[in-house]
Symmetry: D2
Subunit: 252 residues, 4 copies
Amino acid sequence: MGHIGYRAASPEALDRRVAAIEASDFKTHGWVDGDQGHGKAFRFEDPFGHLFEIYYDTKWYKAEGDDRPALKNTASAFTGVPPRRLDHLNLLAEDVTEFKRFMETCLGSRVTEYIQLDNGRIGGCWFTINNKTYDLACTEEHGGGMGRLHHVTYATDQREDILRAADIFLQNGVHIETGPHKHAIQGTFFLYVWEPAGNRVELANAGARLIMAPDWEPICWTEADRKKGQAWGLKTIETFHTHGTPPVNKGG
Amino acid sequence: MGHIGYRAASPEALDRRVAAIEASDFKTHGWVDGDQGHGKAFRFEDPFGHLFEIYYDTKWYKAEGDDRPALKNTASAFTGVPPRRLDHLNLLAEDVTEFKRFMETCLGSRVTEYIQLDNGRIGGCWFTINNKTYDLACTEEHGGGMGRLHHVTYATDQREDILRAADIFLQNGVHIETGPHKHAIQGTFFLYVWEPAGNRVELANAGARLIMAPDWEPICWTEADRKKGQAWGLKTIETFHTHGTPPVNKGG
Amino acid sequence: MGHIGYRAASPEALDRRVAAIEASDFKTHGWVDGDQGHGKAFRFEDPFGHLFEIYYDTKWYKAEGDDRPALKNTASAFTGVPPRRLDHLNLLAEDVTEFKRFMETCLGSRVTEYIQLDNGRIGGCWFTINNKTYDLACTEEHGGGMGRLHHVTYATDQREDILRAADIFLQNGVHIETGPHKHAIQGTFFLYVWEPAGNRVELANAGARLIMAPDWEPICWTEADRKKGQAWGLKTIETFHTHGTPPVNKGG
Amino acid sequence: MGHIGYRAASPEALDRRVAAIEASDFKTHGWVDGDQGHGKAFRFEDPFGHLFEIYYDTKWYKAEGDDRPALKNTASAFTGVPPRRLDHLNLLAEDVTEFKRFMETCLGSRVTEYIQLDNGRIGGCWFTINNKTYDLACTEEHGGGMGRLHHVTYATDQREDILRAADIFLQNGVHIETGPHKHAIQGTFFLYVWEPAGNRVELANAGARLIMAPDWEPICWTEADRKKGQAWGLKTIETFHTHGTPPVNKGG
C-alpha cells in the first residue's frame, strides 16, 4: 500500500487539519506535490507505518468517448462489474487504541462501532468522517507486520451485484476467501477475494444504512458477541485473522 | 402536512442556524416546546406556507420486548416491510427559485440537481445538508395550492424490496400511481403509491450513491432532457404533475 | 424469422408427432436435413405463414478454452449478460383460435392462460408442452401482416439481471420500449427492447413459477381485466399493439 | 416424516406406475383412502423405511376472503414470507445405489446429478420426473438411522427472498445451520435452518435453471470435486453430514 488519501471539506478545513496534525505527537512528512487525481497534499504517518495524505484540490474525472454516460449525473458508462465507489480500507495495527487516538487527533474521525476484548484491549475499530457508517477500519495485527493492509473495499449498488460477482470470480479463478454473508458489525453484506498479488479485496453493500446522528453512541461488541459468528452464523475463517499484505518476512 | 423537522449537528449549530433564519426576511414563529421524539425547536416558514422546525435535542427510540433487534447496531426487530428510514420530502412551491433561496439561507442546504425550464424558471430543485444526494426536493406547484406536499419517501435497502412491496400494495388495494422505474434525476429506483388519505408515498433505493464531494457541481436537466422520460424511458403520468395534498379547494 | 424449432422427447415421440401433423389439414413441407445445432427435422406451417420444425437429433454445445465453465453442470463460462436460455416466442396471427387449433393438433401444446375478448374472439393465447408456464404465445395481428413475430424472450435468473440490463441498454442506445414491470398474465417480470434491426426482444423472469399440474385449468382474462393494465398498473403502450417484424409493406 | 406423495400425470399414468411398482421386488402397502389434499393413493416403501404414495385425484385449494389473490393466476394472497412452492425432499439411505434402483423402477425418475465416491459407492443422487432439475435427492446415511429425512426445501422466487429470510430467522431465533451460498451441485442458491422440532428446512432458488433435454447426461461429481466445497468455496459443516430426523436412538 502506497498511502491513504483523505480529502478535506474545504481549503480552510485542510489548513485546520494540518495545524492539528502538526500540533500532535504523530510523525509528519510535510507537504508533497500532487499525485494522480489530486493537488498538493500534507503527508503524515500513524505509529504503525501507514502513510496518510490529506488534500483539497482534486481533479474531476471527465468521461470521454465510449465512457460518456447516458445520464448526466453518472460519472462514466458504468455498465460492467458494478462497484459504485471505493468504500473503505481496513488497516492492521498492533495497538488499536493508539490507532484510534491517531484517527481522532489527525482526521477528526468518529468511532461508530468497536470490538472490546476480554483482555481490555480494543480488537477493532470502525471510523467515519461523513455519513457513511465507516470509511476506515482498523483491526489488531497478529502477524508481527508493520504498515499492513487487511483489505480494501468497493461498494456495490445491490447485494445481487455481489452474488453475481461471486460467479465471475469463480469463473476467472480468483480466490474467494469467505462470503457472501452479512457482517454482524456494521451489518454490511460482503464477499472477500484475494487479487492475484495477494491483497484482500471486499465487495460490500450496506443497503440504505447511514449514520446521520451527530450523537451516535458507538456500538460495543464483546468477545461473547463475536463468538456467535457473522450475522447469520458464518464462522470467521483462519486466514482472515492472519493474512495481510505485504507478507511478513519471517526469515532470519 | 404538519411541519418539517430538521436536526442540527450540535447545540451550537442550532444557534447559528436560528441566528441566520432570524436575520433573514423569511417568516419566523419562534421557539416551541418539544414534540414527539424531540425537544425544543425553532419554527419558521417558507413563502409558500410550509412550516419548518429545527432542533437538536432528540429522544432515541429504545426497542423493548419483541421489538428488540438480534443485532446491537439495529434500531428494531425490522423484519417486516423494510423501509430503512425516512429518506426525503418533495414539496410544491409556485416559485422554486425563491424556495431555493429559502433553503440556502435558512438551512444552508446545497443544490445537487435541478430542472432548468425553457422559460427561465427552475422547474425543480434537489437539496441536501448531508451526504445523501438529497433530503428535500421542491417542484413547481401547478394546481394553485399553498403549502402542499408532493410526496414523502422511504428508503429501502434493496431494489428487490420495492418490487416485493409492489405486490403487497397490489394485494392490499393500495393505488400504485407509477413505477417501478429508475429516475433520470438522482438515479433512484422508485415506486409511487397513494395512501388511503391521498398522500403520495414513494419507496426509493439509491443503491450506494452518495455525494461526498464538497465541490459537487449541480446537475442541470433541461426540458429537452426531461422529454426523454425517466431513465429507462417511462413517461411521467399526468397525475404526477397535478396531484398534491391537501387537495385545492376549487369552489367559490 | 426463419423457422421455429421444437424438439421431441424421443425418436418415437417425433414419429408420433409427424404422424399427427400429416393427418391434419395443416400445410406440411416434409423432412429437411439438419441445421445448425440439430439433425433432420420435419417442417410444417401454420395458417398464418410461420414455419415450424420438429426434430429429435441434437448437437450438444461443448465449451472449449475460455468458455469452459468452472462448474461441471453449467453450459459455458456464462458471466456476462446473463440470459439463462431462450424462453419463448410470441407470434402474431389474425385468428388466434385457429392458431390454437394448430398448436394443439400439431404439437400437443396445452393452453395455460388466454385473453377472451368481448367480441367473442381470443385475443391471445399462451401455450406449453413442458413445465414452463409457456413456451410460445400468440396474440392477434392488427397490422395486416403475415407470419410475423411479436417478440422473442430470454429468461434471466433474477429480476435484478433485468434491472441491470436496462442500464446496459440505456448506455448502449438500445431502444427500450416498455418496462421493467410485471405482467398480469403469467406474472413474469419483463423488459422489452428493440434490437437494431427492429425485432422486439424481451428479458423475462418468472421467479420459481412453473405449472406442474396435469389438470391445470386455463386462466381466462377478460377485456375488463386487461383494462387494469399490467400487474402493477402500467398501461400497455401503443407500439406494443402495432409493432411486429417484418414490417408490413403498405405501399401499392 | 409421514409419507412422500407423488402425483401421477393422469389416471392412466397412475395405473401404469402401480403396475410397475407391484411387478417390482419393493415392498407395497396397497391402496389407501385419500388424505388431506388428495384422493385414493397407492402406498409403497423403499428399502430404507421411507413411505411413498402415488395418486392422481387432487383437491385444488380455493382461496377465500382475505386470501383471495389480486391476480387470477395466483393461488393465494401470497405476500408474506415468499416460498413459491415445495421444491424437493432430501432423504437419507444407507445404499444410494439401491435407492436409485427404487426411484427408477417405482417412479420412473431420472438422475440429473450424482456424487461418485472413491470407494465405488454413490454418495448422493438427484432425481426428477419433470423439468425441475430435481424433485428428490438422496444422500448417504451415516448415522445408522432408518427412514430419515435430511431436509425439505421450499423454492423462493428470488435470491433476495432468501437473504431477507435470513434476517427473519435471525430475528426470531431460528437456528441457521449454513448459508446463504450457492451449491456446486445443481447450482441452487441456498439457506438451511432447523425448525423448532429439529427438521432441517432449506430455502432455495434455482434461478431460471431447468432441464428440458430428454437426453440429459447425468453430471458426475467426484470426491476431488467435492473437496472444493460449495460453488463459492464454503466448506460443508459437520452437522450437515450427521444431522437427520428423527434422531437415532443410540441407547441400549
